[in-house]
């Protein structure tokens, strides 16, 4: 479980996160939703330590990440997997080398064991016969899947995904969403996903947190999201014509 407690973050005079407190549950897909510029990415980057928070604490299974030294953080980071918005695969490495990289750096496995593990992870995300290709030679959807394979190579306890299906067609987006959900259940991970895609919310959202203008405005399940009275959330959920029609029907 990851606990965010009274976190504040500003950039110069601009307050981006305002007293945010959230419990992200283990074995569940926790979705942070909100408009562009609402503070989702800053919150996610603060949780993983890419941004230092101004005040407040972040706990990984009761271990205070914010007050840890570099060595302590390094140990926790070995338990993290991250899928970046653009995949962030290493350009100079092939698909297989990308997945092998964390194993090379942090595992004591033999070369054969590492190769087997990398191939297992690639098969898990349905990547076959592309091990020798470079990131520039594969599609956006494949890049995201390789990024997931790399993220799970070391059996992480925590999985973070920043807009995992942005820029993908609806069919591939659903495939990626379902893959993340399956992997979360399979490894009992605490998964946090940043998204503004309502289809993802309906497809895989188990716990949903709505952020607006740096404030946590609402949290609940996907079944509760349609019944909320919160105006900001309603404006966000029913922004598209499709969801307006669904609301009318229901």
């Amino acid at each position: 479980m990851i606990t965010v407690s009274n976190v504040n973050k500003s950039f110069a005079d601009l307050k981006v996160l305002n007293d945010i407190s959230i419990n992200f549950e283990a074995g569940k897909t926790n979705l942070i939703i909100g408009q562009s510029g609402s503070g989702k990415t800053v919150l996610l980057k603060s949780i993983i330590g890419l941004h230092e928070v101004d005040s407040g604490s972040i706990f990984y299974n009761n271990r205070d990440f914010t007050s840890m030294n570099l060595k302590g953080r390094k140990e926790i980071r070995k338990e993290m997997g991250m899928v970046f918005q653009g995949g962030a695969l290493f350009d100079s490495m092939s698909v297989e080398e990308n997945v092998l990289f964390p194993l090379d750096m942090f595992s004591d496995m033999s070369e054969k064991e590492k190769k087997d593990r990398a191939n297992f992870c690639l098969n898990r995300v349905n990547i076959q016969n592309s091990n020798h290709l470079f990131p520039a030679e594969i599609s956006g959807g494949m890049q995201k899947r390789v990024a997931i394979a790399r993220a799970i190579a070391l059996n992480p306890k925590y999985l973070f995904c920043d807009e995992p299906n942005s820029g993908l067609d609806p069919v591939t987006a659903i495939l990626i969403d379902n893959l993340i959900l399956e992997i979360t259940k399979e490894y009992n991970m605490t998964t946090i996903i940043n998204t503004h895609d309502m289809n993802s919310v309906m497809e895989i959202g188990e716990k949903i947190i709505f952020i607006s203008k740096g404030n946590k405005v609402w949290e609940g399940s996907k079944d509760e999201i349609f019944d909320t009275d919160n105006k900001d959330l309603n404006d966000f959920v029913f922004a598209s014509e499709l969801y307006k029609k669904i609301k009318k029907i229901s």
Binding site: K78, M80, F84, A88
Partner: protein, 246 residues
Amino acid sequence: MNLFENVGKFSRFLVLVFSKPEKGKTLFSQIIREIDKLGINSIGIVVIISLFMGAVITLQTAYNMLNPLLPDYLVGYTTRESMLLEFSSTIVGLILAGKVGSNIASEIGSMRVTEQIDALEIMGINSANHLVLPKIIAAIFINPFLYILSVFVGITGGLLAGYLTGTVNLADYIDGIQYAFIPYYITYSLIKTAVFAFIITAIPSFYGYYVKGGALEVGRASTKAVVNSSILILLANVILTQILLK
């Protein structure tokens, strides 16, 4: 103020770069890769430039020494001293600052803007150490070899130019390149080359590592890296010459 800020930031960056590497085996294989990328791939440009510079130095010296009181071996002597003391270390350093420096700044800068550096950090890897240390070690190791190659090719270029144009007598030129040879000059230039290798790799890495924004900023960082590393090479050249040849 900006200068002091950058010096402080650069010092903190160097502390990160020179920390203990994650895995020695990985560092070694990265150094080998960087030697190939930064050194072996630069042999072509070093050979071409040194060959022509050696040729031009020889011809210019020969055409400006028409006084019969000046000995003929002076042409070879001047070419050797120019290549040995200044050209092969400083000028090749400046050329590599352009070629290698822009490559390093844009490579690391692109990694920053595409979140590849963040990906390394999330894995618990010291990204500055992982990306930059192999480049610095590789350049400090391979650049002295490029220097030696440049001296050799430059002197050969001078010999060819002088002989083919008939401006220099072969025996005089060979006499000249052996005349009053001071071995310490090689040590002096090798020290300069090693310092320049550090500047050529560390400064562009610094500018690339702290890029914020997109492709435009990567381009700007690359330009800044080349300009500033060239200025620092010239500054270091003056300081080292004063210290080492006093």
